[in-house]
């Protein structure tokens, strides 16, 4: 009997390649001889007009094959890059050109594109391109954007790209004003970035003989890049193949597309008739990819004596950088997911999405949720403090109860659908997280530590995460005559173990051996209809599609086998790739043979195909392929949910702060997590670990330090402080809850982003608890926080 693989910590199949150094990342792809390398001339100014670009010194450089500027671009390439996700509220959306036309709006914006023999020579050439700029005043930071003393774009008044207001449950300002208790909070959260260890990269080869473009790119959406490249280069979709090879991490930044280089590389490859490669270096990744997180928040809250929310009125100012290619996804998520597991009473939220002369903002793991969680959880802590109540109990009285699902919030979510939670058990989760950190005895522990001169503190933060958003994903399952099962799904992989978990699902549903399944992702030649890997959607969307496609293949296998074995389909089972009659295992056919039978052939080229020729199979009285049938043992299906699933979680952290140096040390980090039914707990756990570490980075170490002229001061791994092992907790206590989603056949919800969402909130709470800085309201209202900032905060509170 085959053991179900669903729920098993199956070791990853992709590791065999990756551990041998046989991974194939974009920069590893061998596209044959004649490869040229690109480098980009980037703006050194945050805001400037381009007066002149002088190429005289560069065109004669040996090894330089081409230099492109805006003036060389024609047709759709000369138009601004697409605004991927338009929204009616985005009244002043702006996108950059593939190469700056006459104005640059952030340090790092692409101005010219050099193609040379190798990257070294290309960089030499970049240094020889002389660009004359007329420098304009830079708008840096939300305060400057709001003040609008200077404008990023002349035709965008107030630097305001969008303003969106949503409300539900009544007139929030009036309810707050009438509430027995009221508080207001001003909060601040800074920029960070995904920072995958592999930056962006694109290789293109134009095949004149086939009139066809092949493009390898490190993306989270192969099909998106394919469509964009086809449009921009004036090609038919059928002329463009996009292949996403191994991707060295994404975390969101690679969902934005097309990047200028994703267009310029194929553009140059076609023009020059030679393959061209662009591989972003680390400095470029800092200044020309994307950031996220930066927001200023104002919260007005009214509540009763128990801390129950009556009204919540939130205003957000979101820094979206110089352009808005990814629309309003991030602030929409903040403003809707802010609610977490709570019932807000009357809720109003307004966000202002603002232009600044800095790198663009597109989703980074969590995608606006960390900011929302921060606003809500700081509010919960403030309420508890105001009422002198236990912080967990204040949260408890506000939780949505298990019998209230599906829970309708009355708001519109990022997918344009109603914000409706599908399932969950938040009170049980709260019990679990409290147990993990001995919540109820922590006060005593804290007092004992204080007696020894030590400061320890405990923080708690809760979130709900919309995962698995549509519109759809598809899958194709093909059983070959060898019995091997080839599976393709269109979304991409950046380390989530898709080749393993999707194979688990196929093996379970089809009944084949796990080792016979091979999964391909992100190759438009294999699955041209797909959306992408983001929003913790791969397991839900492609997982469901793979499951459904495997079911179709299975149904066909059973039908053919029933015919061949002269048995009823109901009496058949498929185990380890063999179809047999239940109770009579000797009456059997393996899937490979069924594949042979499924495809009547004219030509025989091996033993298997000999058995499949039309003289061997089928009824001579009927057509070889029946009217309602197709040759081959395949299943293809798509999964398109009516709305998103909602995963949830609660984190708690215990920290110690040094009374003298203000160093912040993590003593314990605990996670309770509910992503519905687990496919592979080992992989889910790994996702949580990684998210927590990224969250530690975002809360305590990482920030984008811009100066007032728009220069990024810490654009290196020396100064942008991603955690090493020494900065992450030694051990993360994880407990799971599984409330299956009713929305998909497997009951799964997404897990990819969860670990990072509550970090800013939970660390702010714990540090504050350790410091006891509470006399005049919440002390920690700006994150991330460094020892230096904690020290300054102590000075401000006269509590050194």
């Amino acid at each position: 009997m085959t053991i179900k693989l669903m729920g098993q910590g199956v070791q990853r199949v992709e590791d065999q390649r990756l551990l041998r150094g046989q991974g194939a990342y974009t920069d590893d792809i061998d596209v044959g001889p004649g490869l040229l390398h690109a480098a980009v001339v980037r703006s050194p100014h945050a805001h400037a007009r381009i007066v002149d670009i002088d190429l005289d010194a560069v065109l004669d450089v040996e090894g330089v094959h081409a230099v492109l500027t805006y003036d060389d671009l024609t047709g759709p390439m000369a138009e601004p890059l697409p605004l991927l996700i338009p929204h009616p509220a985005l009244t002043h959306g702006r996108t950059q050109y593939a190469l700056a036309k006459d104005e640059v709006n952030y340090v790092g914006e692409a101005v010219a594109f050099v193609v040379a023999t190798d990257r070294y020579v290309a960089e030499d050439a970049v240094g020889k391109v002389k660009v004359t700029y007329d420098v304009l005043p830079a708008v840096v930071g939300i305060e400057a954007a709001r003040a609008a003393e200077h404008l990023v774009h002349d035709d965008v008044p107030g630097n305001l790209g969008a303003r969106l207001e949503q409300q539900t449950g009544g007139d929030a300002p009036a309810v707050v004003a009438a509430a027995p208790h009221r508080l207001s909070l001003d909060l601040d959260i800074e920029r960070s970035a995904c920072m995958p260890l592999e930056g962006r990269g694109t290789v293109a080869r134009w095949e004149p003989a086939l009139d066809r473009l092949q493009l390898w790119t490190s993306t989270q959406s192969s099909t998106g890049v394919r469509a964009a490249v086809a449009v921009k280069l004036g090609l038919d979709l059928g002329q463009v193949d996009v292949i996403t090879p191994d991707v060295g991490g994404g975390f969101g930044v690679k969902i934005n597309h097309p990047w200028p280089e994703e267009l310029l590389v194929p553009y140059a490859a076609r023009a020059l008739g030679r393959p061209v490669k662009f591989v972003e270096d680390r400095r470029e990744h800092f200044i020309s990819s994307a950031h996220e997180r930066g927001q200023v928040q104002h919260v007005e809250v009214g509540f009763d004596d128990d801390g129950r929310l009556l009204g919540l009125d939130v205003e957000l100012w979101h820094d979206h950088g110089a352009y808005t290619p990814y629309g309003l996804i991030v602030p929409i998520i903040t403003s809707t997911q802010l609610l977490g597991p709570y019932k807000p009473g009357a809720y109003r939220v307004v966000f202002h999405s603002l232009y600044t002369n800095t790198v663009i903002v597109t989703p980074y793991r969590g995608a606006g949720r960390p900011q929302g969680c921060y606003a809500m959880e700081r509010t919960m802590d403030a309420i508890a403090q105001h009422l002198g109540k236990d912080r967990a109990e204040v949260r408890r009285v506000n939780l949505i109860q298990p019998d209230e699902f599906p829970y309708e919030h009355g708001l519109v979510f990022q997918d344009g659908r109603p914000l409706t939670y599908d399932s969950g058990d938040y009170p049980a989760m709260l019990d679990k997280i409290k147990a993990l950190v001995d919540w109820d005895t922590f006060g005593e522990r804290q007092r004992q530590a204080a007696a020894e001169g030590r400061r320890i503190g405990l923080g708690l933060a809760c979130y709900v995460e919309g995962t698995g958003v549509g519109p759809y994903e598809g899958a194709h399952v093909h059983v070959e005559t060898t019995g091997k099962v080839k599976v393709a799904t269109g979304l991409t992989s950046q380390g989530q173990g898709h080749q393993t978990v999707f194979a688990q699902l196929v093996a379970d549903e089809l009944g084949c051996r796990f080792s016979d399944v091979e999964v391909v992702t992100g190759d438009t030649r294999r699955m041209p209809y797909a959306v992408g890997t983001f929003a913790s959607r791969a397991a839900v969307m492609s997982g469901s599609a793979v499951h459904l496609a495997a079911r179709r293949a299975k149904e066909k296998a059973l039908r053919i086998a029933a015919d061949a074995l002269e048995a009823s389909e109901d009496d058949l089972q498929i185990v380890d790739g063999v179809v047999s009659v239940k109770g009579a295992p000797e009456v059997s056919l393996d899937l490979g043979t069924i594949s042979v039978l499924s495809n009547p052939l004219r030509y025989a080229f091996d033993e298997a195909s000999k058995r499949a020729t039309q003289f061997q199979v089928g009824d001579p009285g009927k057509p070889p392929v029946a009217e309602d049938d197709e040759p081959g043992l395949e299943g293809r299906d798509f999964y398109s949910p009516e709305r998103a699933t909602f995963a949830s979680g609660m984190h708690a952290v215990i920290v110690e702060t040094d009374p003298e140096t203000a160093e912040i040390r993590i003593l314990q980090y605990a996670v309770v997590h509910d992503c519905g039914t687990l496919i592979n707990p080992m992989i889910v756990e790994g996702q949580i670990h990684g998210g927590v570490a990224q969250g530690v980075g975002g809360a305590l170490y990482e920030r984008m330090a811009y100066d007032s002229s728009g220069q990024l001061l810490n654009a290196s791994f020396m100064d942008f402080l991603m955690p090493y092992v020494s900065e992450v907790p030694d051990g993360i206590d994880v407990d799971h809850l599984e409330t299956p989603s009713p929305l998909n056949p497997l009951g799964i919800k997404g897990a990819g982003e969860a670990g990072v969402i509550p970090s800013a909130a939970v660390f702010a709470a714990a540090i504050e608890d350790a410091e006891g800085l509470r006399e005049d309201g919440l002390a920690i209202t700006a994150m991330p926080i460094s020892p230096s900032e904690l020290f300054e905060l102590r000075l401000a509170h006269q509590n050194p």
Partner: protein, 190 residues
């Protein structure tokens, strides 16, 4: 070793260099400024060594130079002569099976995207050579100079400890998923 400089395709002086990588001798002609990381990847086709920052911080490009870990992005190919270089490709056993550190990473789920992994594998290989039986703290210290953005390091530390056992001829921990047996208990299907 280098001999007299000549002029290459782009007019830049080039040097004839002999590199010994994974026991194989390679003769190549490179400009002086060619980083060892680029020479390994693009001149020798050993693309397992990855480049994550090119300023010596992330550790993805770590190789072994005479058995000691070194950043390939902080060395010039022209200066990497007269030494034995080992890359991730050289950690696999002659029969093609995974070496102990590689095996431990597989069993402990010590990698996700896999981009930083070769640098960890080489670093740990050298680290365990020097300290075959690290304490938990020493296992953490051993990987203290390598960045990983995916795993949160938890399972990499477990892999160091597992690899130490495997190197001594031991077998891995209990049940499928190795060190994750406890995880499946906590998180198994309800």
């Amino acid at each position: 070793m280098t001999v007299s400089a000549q002029t290459g395709e782009t007019g830049e002086a080039v040097h004839d260099v002999r590199l010994r990588v994974n026991g194989v001798v390679h003769d190549l002609r490179v400009p002086a400024r060619r980083l060892l990381s680029d020479a390994l990847r693009h001149d020798l086709g050993l693309t397992g060594t990855h480049v994550g920052c090119e300023h010596g911080v992330c550790g993805a490009c770590t190789v072994l130079v005479d058995g000691r870990s070194a950043r390939a992005c902080l060395m010039f190919a022209v200066a990497a002569v007269e030494v034995d270089i080992t890359t991730v490709e050289g950690l696999t056993r002659p029969d093609g099976s995974l070496g102990p550190v590689q095996q431990a990473f597989s069993e402990c789920h010590g990698l996700q995207c896999g981009f930083c992994t070769p640098g960890f594998l080489t670093t740990i290989t050298a680290g365990l050579e020097e300290n075959p039986d690290p304490t938990h703290e020493e296992a953490r210290d051993m990987i203290g100079g390598n960045l990983c953005r995916c795993t949160g390091y938890q399972n990499i530390v477990a892999a160091v400890e597992c690899a130490a056992v495997l190197r001594r001829g031991g077998s891995r921990g209990p049940g499928p998923g190795g060190p994750h047996a406890s995880i499946t208990e906590a998180g198994g299907p309800s």
